[in-house]
């Protein structure tokens, strides 16, 4: 056990290790309450576990106790079966990746030297370090030739955080701690980095403890989410789907806030739902054939596709009088890899009630109606039985009536 956790094999994913926090407690001197109060948490190997909670709940303190930047007052930290509560903390940290919001790249060192910090601490030889630096830069999507000799200030915030992640992965640690790593990055870049991070995790399969105060980020990234109340007490520890569908108590309901059903749409891929079927008319087809198709399907409109089966527009029966190539508003087109949330967003943007879903080559696969999306949320809402008399609901009723 112990020797497995100590080894940092070179390339590829060694996968992660189980982290087990047992009765973990921290009381800072001069404070009456425990910052972290007897926390028991089992973090499965190879999963992203997001610690989320209001500020001051002790989530960062909890994370910093795992690599013992903060020494626990009592309790145990077990990583990969080894009790690491009392071992040399500097040695321990060299086998735990650490990414922080401020990135913390050393400004006086090149990108290559920044990534090489931990390998050098472990006395790797030069060729091995050099090779690993190139490998890591490519892994996080930066061209090694162009970036290894640069200094951090020459990189954008997003690029710096990629290097931050590469540096944390340098010796292929089984465990990574990430403290709001995307918190200081603009929303568009953040979204892209989050997606890349999820893709990266599919290959490296580390055990990742991720701290954020942003429930959206938690839902998007977490395999599991621990919603923490004061004293780092877990109010609920479950998968995002379960937390959204069955919040354990009022604290969780308040924390995930209104719009949980909308947010749960972001967890459903268009590939996972049954699409609506509507008549497909080719541009080359005659108007009569189109009209006949519509009549037979008893549908109000058909989708027009070109020779490559790319959707070109909608046609209602009435539109067909004016010929095949006219009529129809802007078309909402989504790929199957996108989420239902994206589809809803696109429908709101185009002001339409139906979206065309295409495969990765842009070929038409099916349609998604607004009513179908409504059905999905209604289903989710019904599952969320124990919701208290929340005000947003009352407000909605008032609006409707």
């Amino acid at each position: 056990m112990a020797d497995r956790s100590g080894s940092a094999s070179s390339s590829g994913g060694t996968g992660g290790e189980v982290i087990s926090l047992q009765g973990l407690t921290k009381r800072f001197p001069g404070q009456r309450e425990n910052a972290v109060d007897s926390l028991d948490l089992e973090i499965p190997a190879g999963e992203i576990v997001v610690l989320v909670g209001p500020s001051g709940c002790g989530k960062t303190t909890t994370m910093r106790m795992i690599n013992r930047l903060i020494e626990p007052t009592s309790g145990k930290i077990v990583i990969g079966g080894e009790d690491v509560t009392k071992i040399n903390s500097d040695q321990l940290r060299r086998r735990i990746g650490y990414v922080i919001q401020q990135v913390g790249l050393f400004p006086h060192m090149t990108i290559a030297d920044n990534i090489a910090v931990v390998p050098r601490l472990l006395n790797w030889n030069k060729p091995r370090i050099s090779e690993r630096v190139d490998e890591l830069l490519e892994l996080v999507g930066l061209d090694a030739g162009a970036y290894r000799g640069r200094y951090p200030k020459e990189l954008s915030g997003g690029q710096q955080q990629r290097v931050g992640v590469a540096r944390a992965l340098a010796v292929d640690p089984p465990v990574m701690l990430m403290d709001e790593p995307f918190g200081a990055i603009d929303p568009i870049t953040r979204d892209r980095l989050q997606n890349e991070f999820l893709r990266l995790q599919e290959t490296i399969r580390k055990t990742i403890v991720f701290v954020t105060h942003d429930i959206h980020e938690a839902i998007k990234l977490g395999d599991r989410i621990a919603i923490l109340d004061k004293g780092s007490r877990p109010a609920q520890y479950d998968t995002p789907e379960q937390i959204l569908a069955h919040p354990a108590n009022d604290f969780v309901v308040d924390f995930i806030g209104p719009g949980a059903s909308v947010r749960s749409l972001g967890l459903t891929n268009l590939a996972d739902i049954e699409l609506d079927k509507i008549p497909v008319v080719e541009l080359a087809d005659s108007i009569d054939k189109a009209r006949a198709l519509l009549a037979r399907a008893k549908q109000d409109r058909a989708v027009i596709v070109d020779g490559d089966r790319r959707p070109r527009g909608w046609r209602r029966a009435a539109d067909l009088e004016q010929g095949m190539s006219s009529g129809g508003g802007p078309l909402a087109i989504l790929r199957r890899s996108q989420t239902v949330h994206d589809a809803l967003n696109e429908l709101l943007r185009t002001g339409d009630t139906i979206a065309a879903i295409v495969d990765s080559d842009g070929r038409y696969e099916g349609a998604l109606r607004l009513e179908t999306i409504m059905g999905l949320t209604a289903h989710a809402d019904a599952a969320r039985a124990p919701v208290k008399d929340a005000q947003p609901v009352a407000a909605q009723r008032g609006d409707a009536g």
Binding site: Y98, F106, P107, H108, E131, R148, R150, K153, E154
Partner: protein
């Protein structure tokens, strides 16, 4: 994959290199401007002195061996005192910025401030009166007087290092000592160097007063010019001190430039 050899690829970014080269052009010009001016001033002084017929008193001061000896004494006073200040103030500054020593910081700064507040001539005379005269006591006075800028800048330079960098270093498993030597000190170098440069300038100037405690230096020449009422001697002493001070400042500026870590 890539070769194992450490390939240094030139940065292929025209925008950034353009900016860099422009700023170097300007600073290269300023680097050479100072020595040219100083040489012109020295040449002017030489012509001025040689245009005069010197009497025997003046000739006793204004000859090459005498002046060379005074300049060397002056450099020695400056160099020894500055090196001592660096050797004492930098480690003390490091010590006082360690978290465990935070309580001692205001007290230590208070003590050092007193040394700075007393006029330099006062420190010199007080020391001479209580201990004696000569090179050793002049050095002690100079050290006391130029201690504060080095100490304060060492502390300021270290305190200005972002906490997140120290956190990142510690979080990766760097020991406290490694974080100090590999992260904090390199990043504090520009501010520390500014303090050392200030100390050097203070020492060059104050060393002129060492003549009053029999530690010689260029103060001897100025003092002779004043006491014997010989204008060429006085001017030569004053100009030489000024040129020496500006030369040392220029050298310190070069050192700052060289020692400043790249990437900042």
């Amino acid at each position: 994959m890539t070769t194992t050899a450490d390939v240094r690829t030139p940065v292929a970014d025209p925008a950034s290199t353009g900016v860099e080269s422009r700023s170097t052009d300007r600073s290269v010009a300023s680097i050479f401007l100072t020595p040219v001016l100083l040489i012109l001033v020295l040449a002017g002084l030489y012509i001025y002195v040689h245009s005069k017929t010197l009497d025997s008193i003046e000739r006793r001061s204004l000859n090459t061996p005498f002046l060379t000896a005074r300049v060397l004494e002056h450099i020695r006073l400056t160099a020894v005192s500055t090196v001592l200040v660096i050797l004492i103030a930098v480690p003390l500054g490091i010590l006082l910025t360690r978290p465990s020593m935070r309580r001692a910081t205001p007290f230590a700064l208070g003590v050092v401030n007193v040394g700075q507040a007393v006029p330099s001539i006062g420190v010199l005379v007080l020391l001479a009166l209580s201990f004696g005269i000569g090179f050793k006591y002049a050095i002690i006075a100079l050290v006391l007087y130029s201690f504060l800028p080095v100490l304060r800048n060492t502390m300021a330079g270290l305190q200005r290092v972002e906490r997140s960098l120290i956190d990142a270093g510690r979080g990766m498993g760097m020991t406290k000592r490694l974080v100090l030597t590999k992260v904090e000190l390199p990043l504090a170098v520009p501010v520390m160097m500014a303090g050392i440069r200030t100390a050097l300038i203070i020492n060059v100037g104050t060393a002129t007063l060492a003549t009053f405690t029999n530690a010689h230096g260029l103060g001897d020449v100025i003092d002779a010019g004043l006491k014997l009422d010989r204008r060429p001697v006085l001017i030569t002493g004053a100009v030489l001190v000024a040129v020496l001070a500006l030369t040392i400042d220029w050298l310190a500026g070069l050192a700052e430039r060289v020692l400043r870590p790249r990437g900042l």
